[in-house]
């Protein structure tokens, strides 16, 4: 029998002053070389599970701890996080606090030096970690100059540098674009396969990582609710925790297909076996969409869309006219952006890390001055930046908003709580209500920068509903996001930025289907559909056509 690399024996843990335990009687055994995904809604105990594995619980956080955790064979009651770091590399959520030194090279060298490696081994380890993560060009950069995505990769490099036996990662893709996020997951799989490194990955966007996983642990209120291979987990989720089901699994469930797929490849293989893939059934994907009644919306691009609406030309709620933004060093972040949003229009802004999305949003409400060009708006532009905590200055929720606005935001019952004690979704809702201002007149435009980071599906659904309501009230909605599923749920139009330029601008059905990265999981499985509901309808239609008379 192989000795486990991580073992939880009836672990129960309660944070200091907390009423309920964060972990309840958790028993887990992870073998060397396993790739494990930890799933669950917000505050279900996933992050605490990682902190217990790394020894921070209970050594760093205190609280009441029962049971036993063995990490790399070391009992965490006897060995603190520093000793456990020799066998476990750890990366937490907030990239800002995941680096501790001032240069990237020093950051990657730190864990190796702490383990007592000599200069040659440290230098080799730094180079290897940098090569593995593609951050060689960052080695001599100062850490305070790096973007969130770059910081996240540097933090991961530091966790990897000592070639630990197990990697404990808490949402390492939250700041990465879809391409970089997918690449990171496959890099982890490669490390797992080539070096036998065990991986425990906490992730909300399960569709991104289930295909690489060997096993899924699902947490519910601190207890381990499911421990199964990906397909077994998806079957469990379909019955017991629909909020955790991936889009692919929901697509199959709605279409009445089995087994639920853990990734696009499996899903397409199943569809192929049933003769339901459009290209293999001899259908042209666009036509198949029409057949199923999922008609692509007519293309609409910027102001031309407004012009097509007829003689009563509505001025755009928000427009960027030949907008350029150049940094003091001369690098152009935005290059001649021309973009207009009609009142009530819902637009998703997508693109790689560093494409210029956040900079464009900061121009929308005047936080930045254009180098050239201009921004026009018919009224106030509400901008919600990436971290909702930045909007909270009062000690109570009631100090941030008047009672009427709190009631409208559905937060009246939380008025006496501290804003930072709210859940992620509630904080986002409060921050959105603050920037919207509870005005009699809704803002001309509501802009949000990466609002779904770290949110579970229920919170994302709530946010999408509120943004649709804002659009229905006449505000244009512009959301910068790396989450194609959220973009497909919310937006009617998608603008794709690359290197400061608009490279695609069209209806959501056109931009988010048929691609590899900027596409929903459903679109990658079934051509002609973006969301599981549409995809299931399409598949049922194909099944009907193929059924013998």
């Amino acid at each position: 029998m192989t000795a486990s690399v991580l073992r939880f024996e009836s672990v129960t843990y309660r944070y200091p002053h907390a009423e309920l335990p964060a972990l309840r009687d958790v028993c887990v055994d992870i073998a060397p070389g396993e790739f494990v995904v930890a799933a669950g809604l917000s505050a279900s105990g996933k992050s605490t599970f990682l902190r217990a594995a790394s020894g921070l619980v209970p050594h760093f956080h205190g609280g009441e701890f029962g049971g036993r955790v063995l990490t790399g064979g070391l009992d965490t009651r006897d060995h603190g996080p520093a000793a456990l770091s020799a066998v476990a590399g750890t990366l937490f959520q907030d990239p800002e606090t995941q680096v501790v030194l001032s240069t990237v090279r020093a950051e990657l060298a730190l864990p190796l030096e702490n383990r007592g490696h000599g200069p040659a081994a440290v230098a080799r380890g730094v180079e290897e970690a940098a090569l593995a993560l593609g951050i060689g060009e960052l080695l001599d950069r100062c850490t305070h100059e790096l973007s969130g995505g770059e910081l996240q990769r540097v933090g991961l490099g530091a966790a990897l540098a000592g070639r630990p036996r197990i990697l404990l990662l808490d949402e390492p893709t939250s700041q990465l674009d879809p391409v970089a996020g997918d690449e990171l997951v496959w890099l982890l799989r490669r490390l797992n396969e080539e070096w036998g490194t065990s991986i425990v990955l906490v992730e909300h966007r399960l569709e991104r990582c289930l295909g690489a996983a060997d096993r899924v642990l699902a947490f519910d209120a601190g207890a381990l609710a499911c421990d199964a291979p990906p397909r077994g987990f998806l079957e469990w989720a379909a019955e017991r925790a629909p909020a955790l089901a991936t889009p692919g699994a929901r697509l199959f469930a709605r279409a009445g297909l089995r087994p639920p797929p853990s990734g696009v490849k499996q899903a397409r293989a199943t569809l192929r076996a049933h003769g339901l893939l459009a290209e293999e059934a001899g259908e042209v994907p666009a036509a198949s969409a029409d057949t199923a009644g999922v008609r692509p919306r007519p293309p609409r691009r910027g102001l031309s869309a407004l012009a097509r609406r007829g003689p009563a030309k509505t001025p755009p709620a928000l427009a960027f006219r030949n907008l350029w933004h150049e940094r003091s060093g001369g690098r152009a972040v935005l290059r001649g952006i021309d973009l207009a949003l009609a009142p009530g229009e819902r637009v998703a802004l997508m693109g790689r890390n560093g494409a210029g999305k956040s900079t464009l949003l900061r121009h929308a409400n005047g936080l930045l001055e254009p180098t050239r060009g201009r921004v026009e708006a018919t009224g106030r532009v509400a901008l919600l930046l990436q971290n909702p905590n930045d909007y909270f200055l009062a000690d109570r929720v009631s100090g941030e908003l008047d009672p009427v606005a709190l009631e409208a935001a559905g937060l009246a019952e939380l008025a006496d709580r501290h804003p930072r004690d709210l859940s992620g979704g509630e904080r986002q809702r409060l921050a959105l209500a603050i920037v919207s201002g509870g005005d009699v007149e809704p803002p001309a435009a509501v802009c949000l920068d990466e609002p779904t980071r770290g949110m579970d599906r229920a919170a994302k659904g709530d946010l999408a509903s509120r943004l649709r309501a804002a659009a229905a009230a006449g505000s244009a909605v512009l959301v910068a996001t790396h989450d194609p599923e959220f973009a497909a749920t919310l937006a009617e139009r998608v603008v794709l930025l690359a290197d400061g330029r608009v490279i695609a601008d069209g209806p959501v059905a056109e931009v988010l289907s048929g691609g590899w990265y900027f596409a929903t999981e459903t679109a990658r499985i079934v051509d002609g559909a973006l969301l599981p509901e549409d995809g299931a309808e399409l598949l049922r239609a194909r099944m009907t056509i193929e059924a013998p008379p």
């Binding site: 000793a83 770091s85 240069t103 864990p111 100062c142 933090g155 532009v381 930045d390 909007y391 200055l393």
Partner: protein, 297 residues
């Protein structure tokens, strides 16, 4: 924060570069003679510019010059010495009889100048030429706990700075703020309070990261002492310059060169000794820059 440049100061090891910056501070604190302080100021600025630290010195001046002016203005109001009265305010109640003298004005200017030199050398030049990571790594072998505290503080400065900028941006996004309009004093205070109250949480997060990187492991402390590294020519020349500055300052004080009396009358003799001392300070300070071979490490 250090931004590596091709200079002998950056090529020298961190403790040596730190000693060089501290030697300027020592020299500035050793003298009150305005001519010598001016020479030290010239040496600091020249060394900073030659090391590519001009922007950091300029930024330090934005804070240091108002600070120096404040000291220069306060001294005449609190000093009750000097013979030549230039302004009579008479009886100022609890402050007593307030007369401003020429001597207190001059000495106030000298104190302000010293403060400015300390800021430029001890903060701006030090931060620009010393690799804090390397310094902390070497320091860990001596005192692990102090090094941990210093590492936390060093990392927290940029983290809290970013927090403050994000909070300010968020304030500007709130209704009532006119887009990129300036935020008011009350909101600034609220931001400072929010950053200060969040500092403990941020410190805990950074400390947790240090923990899981193995900073507190016993092996880390034992290995912090690196194998012997031979001294480079830049280590030697910069260390010699630092020692030279301290020796010049100490020697001049012992020999009574550049003596200064502020009260009751300002006495600041300017003779050959003072001029030689000024020239020597500048030459010794800039001597490492004569050899720029192999300055890129």
């Amino acid at each position: 924060m250090i931004r590596r440049a091709a200079s002998p100061l950056h090529a020298a090891r961190a403790p040596v570069a730190a000693a060089y910056a501290c030697a300027f501070v020592t020299a500035a604190l050793a003298f009150e003679h305005p001519l010598v302080l001016a020479a030290i100021g010239v040496a600091i600025l020249a060394a900073g510019l030659l090391a590519g630290a001009g922007p950091q010195l300029r930024r330090a001046c934005l804070f240091g010059v108002p600070f120096a002016l404040l000291i220069a203005l306060v001294n005449p109001l609190v000093a009750r010495e000097g013979l030549d009265v230039v302004l009579r305010f008479g009886d100022m109640g609890p402050l007593g009889n307030l007369d401003v003298t020429k001597q207190s004005l001059v000495f106030g200017a000298i104190l302000g100048m010293r403060a400015l030199l300390v800021v430029l050398a001890g903060a701006a030049l030090l931060a620009a030429i010393v690799d804090a990571d390397e310094l902390l790594r070497r320091f860990r072998g001596i005192s692990a706990r102090s090094a941990l505290t210093a590492a936390l503080a060093v990392r927290l400065v940029p983290v809290l700075g970013r927090d403050a900028r994000r909070l300010a941006d968020a304030r500007r996004c709130c209704p009532g703020a006119a887009g990129a309009g300036a935020i008011g004093s009350l909101e600034r205070l609220q931001i400072v309070r929010a950053v200060a109250t969040g500092a403990l949480d941020r410190a805990l997060d950074v400390a947790a990261t240090l923990e899981v990187r193995g900073y507190a492991s016993p092996a880390a402390h034992g290995r912090a002492r690196r194998p012997h590294e031979p001294w480079s020519r830049h280590d030697i020349s910069v260390a010699a310059a630092a020692a030279g500055l301290v020796l010049l300052a100490g020697g001049a004080r012992l020999l009574g060169v550049a003596s200064f009396e502020a009260y009751p009358r300002t006495v600041a003799p300017v003779g050959a000794g003072e001029w030689v001392l000024c020239a020597a300070l500048v030459l010794v300070a800039l001597a490492p820059f004569a050899d720029r071979r192999g300055v890129l490490r």
